[in-house]
Symmetry: C2
Subunit: 484 residues, 2 copies
């Protein structure tokens, strides 16, 4: 505040800069170049506030506190479990205590799947207990389990190339590894085995399906994740193997026949209640223009969902809260949505349906759902780089080592897909995913894996960017239209 | 061979060195400095052979083949299980196929402990399944388990400081972390909680004991290991927690009371058969002087014992085999012992007892039992650096980036303790343990964690060093005596 006063003096009263510098030094505050600190033009003022937000965020502990609270006090948050109900109440209380307004609970009904006892063993050539996790949504085995010989496919394409009937009575095992990439694109390439593999194996006669975990780690902790049965294939039990377990089966199968036993149990429900919960930092002058951000509150059941996605909740909540704490709020409203069912789907559709008549009010949407490692690039909607109000964004991001990409954001997150499909422009603050797939969907998705410094870098980027957009009148739809 | 011939020509017939170099070049073999390659003196000849062994070992695949075979074909090898019997047969067949002689099986009887079903959960403030592993030798819980409130000790010293009776009816939880060190000394400092914690907790009234895994990793995979009950304390069930599990209990206990449920089952036997098996590369002229090396064949039950200690078996067997393949064997015998019960103890005493009348024939003993990461230092017995026959050892080790320490070896391995106590001198090729305690005693002790290049560096060091000692008449006992 004092700094602002001194800087404005130097402009309005033409006080010599040396005197300002001297006064600043005497008052033990840093000397600031007047052009940066001044409220001379709205654009300069916005930049100045955003810069302050960014730098405060780097030292602010809100995100860590939120993250620590959710992972410690609630734990895993699978849709359909009592923990998810506790998580919803936690979220509402957290919004309340952090000064949000317009706190809403939007229930929706969906099917749910809850894991039961699971085990698997190699039974031939010798007994060896395997490290496995049933895939989300898998059907159970019969109570006494399934035992059969395996057929190993070192690549998913090998399974697709197998003729119909070639797997009759067998357990199909895909052992394709996943490639580590900064942008997470290795996940799409490898993840298809998990999503579509069970039905592809069943079409060829297999009675169960196992995949090497969709993971970049070399650990035995298996990685779960949703599978999707096709309507035209038998539904067979499906699980993920620890990476060394998959490699052992590969090596044994090169020596001779390998037999496995698999036991999976689960319970399902067609009508489980889930909730999207949201809250606003209300805009000061154009509150009906809403920027939608958030992360998802649900998680898989095996870790404590720290990187997937308590971090996204923590980052976006903390960024909005820092903006809410400003003496003068930006023009537009910032809404944080804690999405209620990302992992098995449903929250995106539910929100889009609930708000289908208000799509025009959504200025832009974004989601933080790739952990808490540092952001390295910002992608805006097509044409947005032409907006004069956003001209300072690269300078705001540069100290955080974030580039502003020339490529428009193709996608913001699973939960904002419904909004995107309804025409809401999206942005993406791209996180370094190099380490993410070592941990996500595994028992090791826990608090200790989050680096507080990188978490803060995320908050800083979101807070600064959101403030600039919220304090502007940039029309992303019009810019996208104009760029065509 | 051709190279030897050319080099010896240059010495014996005074052929000009330029001519040797020219001939070498024409024959497309590398030019060698005559002083290195010549068989002129016994010391030079020994150095030359050792150098060749070292460099061949760096490219040799024997150790990897042995390691892959043991971990793939046998799997975990807990004393008292059928797998250990298969491992013994595997070892005998491996010695046979690699050209060893004097293959021996030395049975001994010991007590054994075999894990049953195990589980644990936080039951308050909410339900959370914990990742645990019973400690080796733990008593079982009653079949319906134990449920009680926990008392958390952030340091083992805090438990020792707790008054008698202060833990009555409670579960003691030690959450002290382990320090990562190159020389593995962090293990001794942290491991006491695992070995002595259960009895210390029981003396203070605790009904069960949990320790954060004695591990340098941040993973949920727990690390087992032997515990030792004191005779004067009640025997209470004891298990290791995954690291994030221990940290969660710590954080929850700062918020209020935490309750746990623990179920451990196991079977024990007082008279299990175990075996030390051994085989020789017989010496050419003084075969009754025996150098004892080896690794241990038994392993914990949760991984496949790749770094602990299939690697030690592979390294020492491969090194001895390379020496056995030489056209002229060294003077002394090299004996590889596959020790039969290191983890729960017994093999060291059994071997010392069996060979108590032959201790004078054991020239020196060493063991490889700290994984397969690179060796960074050699420690010899006290006074050994004064032996002229070992003067070239530093030059042999230098290209492998191994220093020859001025400190004598204090210890060679658990299995050679019996020999050491009976006066047999010991050597230690110290492996980098920085990564070892991330993995050892855990489900992730698997083949993929071994780096083939580092494995080969180990074989190269053992082969070169063994050859020099075996081809010498160094009397380590006399040198130690003289150095006092």
């Amino acid at each position: 505040m004092l700094l602002d006063f001194l800087a404005s003096l130097s402009h309005r009263r033409q006080m010599p800069r040396t005197l300002v510098a001297l006064l600043s030094a005497l008052l033990i505050v840093p000397t600031v170049a007047p052009g940066v600190a001044s409220a001379q033009t709205p654009r300069q003022s916005t930049f100045h506030v955003a810069e302050g937000l960014r730098d405060r965020a780097l030292k602010d502990g809100t995100a860590w506190t939120v993250l620590e609270s959710l992972t410690t006090e609630i734990g895993p948050r699978l849709v359909g479990t009592p923990a998810m109900t506790r998580a919803k109440d936690w979220g509402l209380a957290k919004f309340e205590s952090l000064g949000f307004s317009n706190i809403k609970v939007e229930p929706f009904s969906k099917s749910s799947w809850v894991r039961g006892a699971e085990s698997a063993s190699i039974t031939g050539p010798y007994d060896f207990p395997l490290s496995i996790l049933g895939l989300g949504g898998t059907v159970p085995t019969p109570p006494k389990g399934i035992e059969a010989e395996v057929v190993v496919f070192p690549a998913y394409a090998d399974l697709l190339a197998a003729p119909k009937g070639s797997l009759t009575g067998k357990i199909a095992v895909v052992t394709q590894p996943m490639t580590r990439t900064q942008d997470g694109s290795g996940y799409g390439a490898a993840g298809v085995a998990r999503r579509s593999g069970p039905s592809e194996a069943a079409r060829r006669g297999a009675i169960a399906f196992l995949t090497r975990s969709i993971s970049t780690s070399d650990l035995r902790s298996p990685h779960t994740g949703q599978t999707r049965y096709a309507d035209d294939a038998p539904r067979i039990p499906a699980a993920a193997l620890g990476v060394p377990d998959a490699e052992l089966i590969e090596r044994l199968s090169r020596r001779g026949p390998v037999r496995l036993r698999l036991n999976l149990a689960s319970t399902t429900s067609d009508k489980t209640l889930a909730w999207n919960i949201s809250a606003d930092i209300q805009g000061s002058t154009r509150a009906d223009e809403v920027i939608v951000i958030g992360g998802h509150l649900d998680s898989w059941d095996v870790g404590t969902g720290a990187i997937d996605d308590a971090s996204g909740i923590a980052i976006t909540t903390a960024a909005a809260k820092l903006i809410g704490d400003l003496p003068r709020r930006p023009a537009r409203t910032i809404r944080v949505v804690m999405w209620g069912s990302e992992e098995s789907g449903g929250s995106s559709e539910a929100y889009a349906k609930e708000h289908k008549d208000r799509m025009g009010s959504f200025v832009i949407a974004g989601e933080s759902d790739l952990g808490a490692d540092r952001i390295y690039a910002l992608q805006l909607p097509a044409g947005a780089l032409a907006a004069p109000a956003l001209a300072d964004v690269p300078a705001l991001m540069a100290p955080l080592k974030i580039i502003v990409s020339r490529e428009p954001a193709p996608f913001a997150g699973s939960d904002t897909e419904g909004l995107q499909q309804a025409g809401v422009p999206v942005l993406s603050l791209r996180q370094d995913a190099s380490r993410y797939f070592d941990l996500h969907h595994s028992p090791d998705d826990t608090l200790d894996k989050v680096d507080p410094e990188q978490l803060s870098q995320n908050v800083a980027a979101w807070a600064a960017l959101l403030y600039v957009i919220a304090d502007s009148d940039v029309d992303f739809r019009a810019l996208a239209q104009a760029s065509k």
